[in-house]
């Protein structure tokens, strides 16, 4: 993270959102909204006095609500940048005009309640989508697991926050209900994944491995503990992955092949009703804590960005690559590339490799001062074009715009609107040629005349 923030060629814009994208490969115009932080990050030294004194506490998003944070806050100690922002929704001063303690005590006078959102426009040659993933909202779908009513049923990410030394529990694994150390922990895989009925059909790819890691952590950190993992398949296709999983099994993790049908509370225990399909028998496990490996889904808001930049998505909302094998980091839109889980669920090693792959594609593009475009694109015969612009509507790449031309009719100059194809954006799909009623749009390399000649010859 520090590497990314300190690189002289990287301009880091946190607390910012892309709000508009136009243009085409090599020539995009983007607008970025800088949300008000209410702290001048030039003046701020990151001393942290303000976060100590702030009187308002709210649940920490970063800790998934397990812990609390102040209203002027830094997400976590190693955060980059390590300077605070004020959460306007909860800040007393911004809501009621009273308080302002942070402003009073800030030694450098960096707190600025007058900050407004700013819009910055930039020209770029390439865009990389790296919007990542969110976790499937299992509480809405899994009634048989209690709809989130049982405090001791948590997700893998919650578990990470507990076992992370910088988290609220300081690395101690506890039961959220009473803070006690759980002795029996049940892990359930594929919650939402590979579940057409309730969630997603796909495999989320990382869960097998992180669940093995969690089981290892339970056995490692909690004395006398036991870990049970309900699974359908163990998928470990990565270097040193299967060895890791085997080691976890040898450490004593009990893998049970079957899905869990129901969890219910009995006393302060959770009863997990599952099957051991290898035995062919239903089984129950008493648990202190249940950890669900929930499916990865596209991150919230990724659909909005997709629409903005014209990036197609698949049926699950992940960004669609140009070709799954041959062009996995490119999209059908020129100059737009994909990295990480926004394209589909993946783990860290895969994400890093894919990100480097996308970077090479970007570099290959940016290394040129100018680029050649495929000549097999649409050509508009301006004389025939009626200016109806139906073609503009059907173009999936937003490559067609209107253009005003001047013609001389009976010696008089007359202005008229015609369609205009952007050679950078046009991908040569030919949709416009079908929509064009006047026959003005033609696709070079696949002209009407050419295709008809082919048809005629073939049918003979």
């Amino acid at each position: 993270m520090v590497a990314a923030s300190q690189h002289p060629n990287i301009q880091l814009m946190t607390y910012s959102e892309v709000t508009d994208v136009s243009g085409y490969i090599g020539n995009f115009d983007v607008t970025i909204k800088q949300k008000p932080r209410y702290v001048d990050h030039v003046k701020c030294t990151g001393c942290g006095t303000c976060t100590e004194k702030c009187p308002t506490k709210v649940p920490s998003e970063y800790d998934l609500g397990i812990g609390k944070r102040k209203c002027i806050y830094i997400d976590f100690p190693q955060a980059v940048p390590s300077k605070p922002v004020i959460d306007a929704e909860n800040c007393r001063y911004l809501k009621t005009g009273k308080c302002g303690i942070c402003k009073k005590i800030c030694p450098t006078g960096a707190v600025d309640f007058e900050q407004k959102e700013e819009f910055i426009t930039e020209k770029v040659g390439a865009i990389v989508m790296a919007t990542g993933f969110d976790l499937f909202n299992w509480e809405e779908a899994y009634g048989e697991y209690g709809y989130g009513r049982f405090k001791n049923v948590i997700t893998g990410l919650h578990f990470e926050r507990m076992s992370n030394a910088s988290g609220q529990t300081g690395g101690k694994i506890i039961r959220p209900s009473d803070g006690k150390e759980p002795k029996s922990v049940v892990f359930i895989k594929c919650v939402g994944s590979r579940d057409e009925a309730k969630g997603k059909e796909y495999c989320s790819r990382a869960c097998c491995m992180y669940t093995a890691k969690h089981a290892h952590q339970v056995l490692d950190k909690i004395e006398g503990s036991s870990a049970y993992i309900f699974y359908m398949d163990v998928r470990t296709p990565g270097k040193a992955y299967d060895e890791f999983y085997r080691r976890t099994v040898e450490e004593g993790a009990q893998y049970i092949r079957g899905r869990v049908s129901k969890i219910y509370e009995s006393g302060d225990k959770l009863i997990v009703m599952g099957t051991d399909t290898l035995l062919g028998k239903p089984v129950t496990v008493e648990a202190d804590l249940v950890v669900l490996a929930t499916a990865m889904v596209p991150s919230e808001g990724s659909d909005i960005i997709a629409q903005m930049v014209g990036c197609p998505t698949d049926k699950d909302g992940f960004y669609q690559e140009a070709h799954p094998k041959l062009r996995p980091v490119e999209t059908m839109t020129g100059g737009l590339f994909l990295a990480g889980a926004c394209q589909g669920p993946r783990d860290i090693p895969d994400t890093v490799s894919q990100a480097s792959g996308a970077a090479v594609k970007v570099v290959a593009l940016l290394n040129n001062d100018q680029m050649a475009t495929d000549p097999m694109i649409t050509q508009i015969d301006e004389k025939m074009c009626s200016g109806c612009l139906v073609c503009k509507e059907v173009c999936p790449y937003k490559a067609i715009s209107e253009k005003t031309i001047t013609e001389r009719i009976a010696g008089q100059p007359v202005e008229r609107v015609v369609a205009n194809v952007n050679t950078g954006l046009c991908q040569g799909c030919g949709n416009c040629t079908v929509a064009c009623r006047s026959g003005a749009a033609n696709l070079k390399g696949f002209t009407n005349q050419q295709v008809l000649a082919e048809v005629d010859t073939l049918c003979r």
Partner: protein
């Protein structure tokens, strides 16, 4: 233009308009996998099934095609 000989077994002519990225590749794959299908289909490569103008299809029928397959 030859008139179909009704006494011989009728062998229809099917014209396929295949998208370069999808079904044309699919047809290639069928070849690579050495699958077998009747030899009466003739494929025209188009950049996208959206390129197929209805008039192409009508023209094919006019010129004697017995079937047309548009696939994307």
């Amino acid at each position: 233009m030859s008139i179909v000989n009704e006494t011989k077994e009728f062998n229809p002519i099917i014209v396929g308009f295949n998208c370069n990225w999808c079904s044309y590749a699919g047809a290639d794959l069928a070849g690579v996998s050495r699958m077998k299908y009747p030899a009466n289909v003739r494929v025209i490569r188009v950049p996208c099934s959206g390129r197929v103008n209805p008039s192409f299809v009508l023209r094919a029928f006019q010129k004697g095609a017995d079937g047309v397959l548009v696939s994307g």
